[in-house]
Amino acid sequence: MARILIPTPLRQFVDKLDTVEAGGSTVGEVLLHLVDKYPNLKKNLYSDEGKLRSFVNVYVNDEDIRYTGKEKTPVTDADVVSIVPSIAGGKNA
């Protein structure tokens, strides 16, 4: 099972955990297992068409999956998958 690091804005959908484990041999499989386990997370990661949202980036270790085969990027148990959404703490001035 790969370790998935959950960023603060999404922890409310995964029982407030900062790390979750999910199985799979590719990023796509791991993320599908993740949203199966935590269905409320789904709309925050995927658009209605089932594509990863463009303001959520996914990394395997320190590599952006957009440059390593997207959701087909292989994942092993030793890998850390990071979900990194865009954040903005300030007000909409």
Binding site: T8, P9, D18, D64, R66, A88, K91
Partner: protein, 383 residues
């Protein structure tokens, strides 16, 4: 470049830089010759302005049109208690002049817009974005790419921050990292989500450090690397960041060649419609009258438990919005339900949810507990 020199007062002031071989006289003169634009003097901008001023940047431009509010003081350390109600730009300039009167501070007391951004930014060498909202972030990014000005970026959320440098020659830009902003409402702001007051200090000073390094030309700049900081676990992590050859603004075939409408790009309505009172809404004054008369209704507070600890209206039952769907069975669909939150947003969602589930007699308290504190009970603290 005009000849830059240091006075004896400046030599003494910058002594600890001058005896540092990596800075020295040459570096200090580079700092004095540098022109840096700070967009915003809030959480990130406050430490940035303080330290860049102390470091002896020659010219610092400030862009801000906001007013100091009491809730800013927990983190915006450039402003003091005496400054509440003053324009932030005045309060910031006062602090900066006190720290280092050698620094020339330019005031741009305006909102940065697509109309003025290029004109304001073009006179500076580096831009540091301390505004931390999506429309301004994309605006600053695009303007910096178009003008070829490095953009030192920082962003914060609750206990986490990000920082990197965008728009250097051949380097990535914010659109390479995130091609599109999230729709409004999906990501809460500090005002809604809260923020550890120290966090913008850490992230702002990462931005300040990188700005000074760029000016001095020392070390390894934070280019092509996204720094992530997690205060709760006290961890720094680094992710690889590449220029996207297909980026619409900095890619090989850019499609964006001028500034666009960033409010629209970020899905924010041009003129926020006045909240229209929906049938069934109840004002805090009417609510008070009905409570005084002894009217019977179910009175629900949908805020979070930590907000309930700050203040509450007597007689309410706490059902946080997130728990409401599984706790509907606790409510009686045949009797009236009055719902409040902090300012009316979450309770509006709760009323919608209740009505969809057959609780037809659900009513939203307009303005929430903040309106209650203003109009009914001034002893209730506002937060």
């Amino acid at each position: 470049m005009p000849e830059v020199t240091l006075s004896n007062e400046e030599i003494l002031r910058y002594s600890r830089h001058l005896i540092l071989p990596e800075v020295g006289m040459e570096g200090q003169l580079k700092l004095k010759a540098a022109k840096v634009l700070l967009v915003g003097t809030g959480g990130l901008g406050a430490p940035l302005a303080l330290y860049l001023t102390a470091a002896g940047i020659g010219r610092i431009g400030l862009v801000d049109f906001d007013v100091v509010d009491a809730t800013n003081l927990q983190r915006q350390v450039i402003h003091g208690t005496k400054d509440v109600g003053k324009p932030k730009i005045d309060s910031a300039i006062e602090s900066m002049n006190d720290i280092n009167p050698n620094v020339i501070v330019d005031r741009h007391e305006v909102a940065l817009t697509s109309e003025n951004a290029l004109e304001i930014i073009k006179d500076y060498d580096y831009v540091v974005d301390g505004t931390d909202n999506f429309p301004t972030r994309y605006l600053v990014n695009d303007a910096c790419v178009l003008l070829g000005k490095p953009n030192v970026y920082g962003s914060i959320f609750r206990f986490e921050g990000q920082s990197t440098i965008f728009a250097t020659e051949g380097g990535p830009c914010y659109r390479c990292l995130y091609p599109e902003p999230p729709p409004p409402g999906l990501v809460p702001s500090c005002a809604e989500g809260g923020v550890l007051g120290i966090l913008p200090g850490i992230i702002g000073l990462i931005q300040a450090t990188e700005t000074v390094k760029l000016i001095l030309g020392i070390g390894t700049p934070l280019i092509g690397r996204l720094m992530l900081y997690d205060a709760l676990n006290m961890k720094f992590r680094e992710l690889k960041l590449r220029r996207n050859p297909e980026c619409p603004i900095c890619g090989d075939q850019p499609t964006i060649k001028e500034l666009i409408d960033y409010q629209e790009f970020c899905g924010i309505p041009q003129h926020a419609p006045e909240p229209v009172p929906v049938t069934g809404d109840i004002s805090v004054v009417e609510l008070k009258q009905r409570l005084d008369k002894g009217d019977k209704f179910q009175f629900i507070d949908v805020r979070e438990p930590h907000e309930w600890q700050i203040c509450r209206i007597p007689g309410t039952t706490l059902v946080p919005l997130g728990e409401l769907p599984k706790r509907l069975s606790e409510l009686d669909p045949n009797s009236e339900i009055v719902v409040h939150c902090k300012s009316g947003g979450r309770s509006g969602k709760a009323v919608d949810l209740l009505k969809q589930n057959g609780f037809v007699n659900a009513r939203n308290v307009v303005g929430g507990i903040l309106a209650w504190a203003d109009q009914v009970d001034k002893s209730v603290p506002k937060y």
